[in-house]
């Protein structure tokens, strides 16, 4: 079982079948095997959160998962959030609140927040900050990210 393993995984609604070494990290699998380079790699030890994706709907570090572990599961990456230039409402809120600068950490932040906001539709600022605490951003100082989440939550009510 040292060699290649077959990995059948649904990513952003599309079924893929690839074979890969068991040691291939899910982050590298998405970026290199599937060309989904929107998932970024910042630390490869589970601290920065840039590589966060959804596995069966819950946010996980794709650098702390082997691709083989995702076999038979569904993954959502940032590429799966928008349809073309039609942004996901949270992406739109990020744009309007200027919640990103270099944008490198942004995909991981979006994917950490989306399932969390489903469970916490009306978060207060402290809850939002706690939810963000697993994602490092060096550019923004987080303020506008918090604002974006607040706007999204406010808007979500009306949607």
């Amino acid at each position: 079982m040292n060699g290649q393993h077959t990995i059948r995984v649904t990513v952003n609604g599309i079924r893929y079948e690839r074979s890969a070494e068991p040691r291939l990290l899910l982050s590298d699998f998405l970026r290199q095997e599937l060309g989904l380079t929107g998932t970024h790699v910042g630390c490869e030890h589970g601290v920065c959160g840039a590589c966060t994706v959804l596995l069966d709907g819950s946010a996980v570090r794709s650098c702390l998962l082997f691709a083989v572990q995702a076999d038979g599961h569904a993954v959502t990456t940032v590429e799966g959030l928008s349809s073309g230039d039609q942004l996901h409402p949270l992406q739109q809120a990020f744009h309007e609140a200027h919640a990103l600068q270099c944008g490198f950490c942004t995909p991981g932040i979006l994917l950490s927040l989306i399932p969390w906001l489903e469970e916490h539709p009306n978060p207060d600022e402290t809850e939002i900050r706690a939810a963000l605490s697993g994602n490092l951003c060096r550019c923004t100082g987080y303020a506008n990210i918090v604002t974006a989440v607040q706007r999204f939550a406010a808007g979500a009510g009306s949607r």
Binding site: E21, R23, L24, R31, Q32, G35, L36, T37, G38, T39, H40, V41, G42, C43, E44, H45, V47, C48, A50, T77, V78, E79, L81, S82, D85, L87, Q91, F94, H95, E96, H98, L100, Q101, C102, G103, F104, C105, T106, P107, L110, I128, R129, A130, L132, S133, G134, N135, L136, C137, R138, C139, T140, G141, Y142, A143, N144, I145, V146, T147
Partner: protein, 784 residues
């Protein structure tokens, strides 16, 4: 101009690509047949290289090549000195620059020893474990004072000592001033190292096209053009054969301006040698050794004041840790030396620094670039003076501010741009007043703090001023082209790392050409598009490149009027440009679209007046006479738990003056981000080297970046004192937030524990360290 975008909160044009994951970062570059690189890095901080045996690594399946210094032949050579020292009298400077791969000697932990090129990064890292290295350890050089002591081990034997530079700048006569002083405040200050820690690590990818004889390099650099100009001759190519692309960059913060990193030199070389695309992406652990760092200064400073708190003079002698090499010259310590003077009238100044080689990673500018050290020293000295003289800390600052009618104000010493340190403009009084007002300083000190103390709450406030030399030369350029489609294309040389250049530059051009910003397609950081300029550093993008964009747009505007006048049958001064059209003022029906005009300006048949240039295009350059000076005041409220030494930031107020604001959205975000960086440097971030030069926290587990729970939303107020040094009146803002934070933080913590006897003279300050300081202060009090 009918529409006006300059100064508006225009949403960023680059966001969609970033939000959807479509933006290209260097590590996203994947080419058929691409090879991957891993570097073997030294475990030792200081050692002689006895042998490196790579034979086993070379035979591992999937390994294409393994290189050591010996394999580089003539290509092995130290990098150039990037920033020569300014012409300061009596200056001593010993230059030793980084090498591609360590040859005889290792000078810091993590210095690269060998390069493995393989089919995948996984295999390349497997091969690193096959390499047998024999190093003969030498004593490390870590403490700055010990490094200069007689008989200290030498980082670079040829200099006979570890002295990298010595610079003395003076103004007036400090000794005389000291003699007349009422009080002399003397302290030692220590400001330790930090990492830039952009979330995107560095990366370099290169492809050699043998048919076109062209080399394309994707590089996470803040300076693509100098990279091209430097690498081309190294590789025996003409500049025109090399294209350097700095696509989207995941944060710069300084170290991505450093050139030429070993990996930057070796990856393109390997791509040409192996005739296959090659990519190296730094991993986070490497980043803690391979990417340059900053900070690490030891100041012995003295402030001479009159009874009323008037500054008579300052003397500062400091040691600056430049790491194992000094390719970036003296930028950082000179920033410290100059910025110490702050917004204050300092009639007499005596400042001498000694830069010291140590067996630690290389030091180059990181956001703030040494400015925060100077601010920390000066603001702390003023705090101690205020306490000793019984003067309110805001008052002592107010009494010493440079008056608003004193500009341009000459400090009589040289700045990092080799020009005299002359402040162009500012209203420091207004900034301080504004901060006092917004923070509610008076009420807090008079009413709230006493009440809170009665309630047993330990809440303190820190208020500090600072200036920032920004927008320095030499120059940047821009080319504006109106395409037949009506699209305006703008190309400039500076790379962008998230500062919003795509938007701010578009705003500038849109106003001049009467179009909307989204009609302006901006290209930055691609040498094929624009190949003159120096890069993004020293908070200069908006100032220098922005001014060049403005100048180019004005030239195109003239072209439009010249071409349109005969077509519309009126003189140019009767035309107006708006809504993407040029029209006769007052006659809406007599108009022509800019796209159509561009076509007409590029005829395929017929004749033109001799000397006519085709199209609607112009290139312009801007080089400021000298850097301009932004300023501001920070006020921070903290709560301290004296039992655990936990510090919580309750409020953070910034009053900021960066001249004319192009886009408040962008400016505020830059300040907020800077403050976050400053909070890190004050409380969380410290590169801890042991006495053997081993870095003890080379991961995000132990090197702590502030999270969303650690950085408050900053309350901001802007003042706009235009700079006379550029047509836009703008000043830089990129680094401002990070500069005074530590000083404000220290003052606030002392203010929260007024009876503790606590005195903070070092940064950063962990809770454990704060606890130790509190215990020591308590013991001092009980002894007394």
């Amino acid at each position: 101009m009918t529409s006006r975008y300059f100064g508006e909160r225009v949403l960023r044009l680059e966001d969609t690509r970033l939000l959807t994951g479509r933006a290209l970062f260097v590590d996203d570059v994947q080419l058929p047949g691409m090879l991957h690189v891993a570097f073997l890095r030294s475990d030792e901080a200081h050692a002689r290289i006895t042998s490196i045996d790579v034979t086993a690594a070379r035979t591992r399946p999937g390994v294409i090549a393994v290189y050591t210094a010996a394999d580089l032949g003539d290509y092995w050579r130290p990098g150039p000195l990037l920033v020569p020292p300014p012409p300061i009298q009596g200056l001593v400077f010993n230059t030793a620059t980084q090498v591609p791969l360590a040859k005889d000697k290792v000078r810091h932990a993590g210095e690269p020893l060998a390069m493995v090129v393989a089919e995948s990064r996984y295999v390349a890292e497997d091969a690193l474990e096959d390499i047998q290295v024999d190093l003969e350890p030498l004593p490390a050089v870590t403490e700055l004072e010990a490094a200069l002591a007689e008989g200290a081990p030498l980082v670079h034997e040829q200099f006979g000592s570890n002295l990298a530079a010595q610079v003395r700048q003076t103004k007036g006569d400090y000794a005389a001033a000291r003699a007349t002083a009422h009080t002399i405040i003397t302290r030692r200050f220590h400001y330790d190292r930090g990492a830039s820690a952009a979330i995107e690590n560095r990366a370099v990818a290169a492809q050699w096209d043998a048919r076109a004889e062209e080399l394309t390099i994707w590089d996470t650099t803040q300076a693509p053009i100098p990279i091209r100009n430097g690498l081309a001759p190294m590789l025996g190519l003409r500049e025109s054969q090399v294209r350097v692309i700095a696509p989207f960059i995941g944060g710069g913060f300084g170290p991505k301006i450093m050139m030429y990193y070993p990996e930057e030199v070796l990856v393109p070389w390997a791509a040409m040698r192996l005739q296959r695309p090659v990519k190296w992406t730094e991993d986070r652990r490497e980043n803690f050794y391979a990417t340059t760092q900053e900070r690490g200064q030891l100041h012995d400073a003295e402030l001479a004041v009159a009874k009323d708190g008037t500054i008579l003079g300052v003397r500062d002698r400091f040691l600056h840790d430049t790491g194992a090499y000094d390719p970036y010259g003296l930028t950082v310590p000179i920033n410290s030396q100059c910025t110490l003077l702050g917004p204050y009238v300092v009639p007499n100044y005596e400042s001498e620094f000694t830069a010291v080689f140590t067996t630690k990673p290389i030091v180059t500018p990181v956001r703030g670039a040494g400015r925060q050290h100077g601010v920390f020293v000066m603001e702390r000295l003023l705090d101690f003076a205020a306490r000793e003289l019984g003067i309110d800390r805001v008052e002592i600052r107010r009494r010493n501010l440079i008056p608003r009618d004193a500009f341009p104000y000459d400090h009589e010493i040289l700045f990092q741009d080799f020009r005299p340190l002359v402040y162009d403009s500012g209203d420091y009084q207004a900034a301080l007043d504004k901060a006092v007002e917004v923070s509610g300083y008076a009420r807090f000190v008079r009413e709230e703090q006493p009440r809170l103390r009665r309630e047993g709450k330990h809440i303190g406030l820190g208020v500090v001023s600072y200036i920032e030399g920004t927008g320095i030369g030499p120059y940047e350029g821009a080319r504006v082209t109106i395409e037949p489609s009506g699209t305006v294309r703008l190309a400039t040389g500076v790379g962008t790392q998230g500062q919003g250049h795509f938007t701010t530059f578009a705003q500038i051009v849109a106003d001049v050409l009467g179009v909307t910003p989204d009609a302006v397609q901006v290209t930055t950081g691609d040498t094929r598009e624009f190949s003159w300029g120096s890069g993004t550093f020293a908070s200069r993008g908006a100032v220098v490149a922005g001014s060049a964009c403005h100048a180019a747009a004005l030239k195109v505007r003239d072209r439009i009027l010249t071409v349109a006048a005969p077509l519309l049958g009126v003189p140019g001064d009767e035309l107006e440009i708006s809504g993407g059209q040029v029209r006769v003022r007052g006659a809406t029906d007599r108009a022509i679209g800019l796209g159509e005009l561009a076509r007409k300006a590029n005829p395929l048949r017929g004749a033109v007046t001799p000397g006519t240039e085709p199209g609607l295009e112009a290139t312009a350059y801007f080089g400021p006479d000298r850097g301009n000076t932004a300023n501001g005041v920070h006020a921070i409220f903290v709560e301290v738990d004296p039992e655990t030494a936990a510090v919580t930031i309750l409020r953070y107020v910034v009053v900021h003056d960066c001249g004319t604001v192009i886009n408040p959205l962008v400016v505020e975000a830059q300040v907020q981000g800077g403050v976050a960086h400053g909070i890190g440097n004050s409380f969380y971030e410290q590169l801890s080297f042991d006495e053997n030069g081993q870095l003890l926290n080379a991961s995000f587990m132990d090197y702590l970046l502030p999270t969303a729970l650690d950085v408050p939303t900053v309350e901001m107020a802007h003042l706009e004192t235009p700079s006379p040094l550029n047509p836009l009146g703008t000043k830089g803002v990129g680094e401002a937030g990070a500069i005074p934070t530590a000083a404000a933080f220290a003052q606030a913590i002392e203010d929260a524990l007024p009876d503790s006897g606590l005195e903070i003279t070092e940064m950063p300050l962990s809770p454990c360290r704060l606890y130790e300081l509190l215990v020591a202060a308590r013991e001092r009090r009980t002894d007394a």
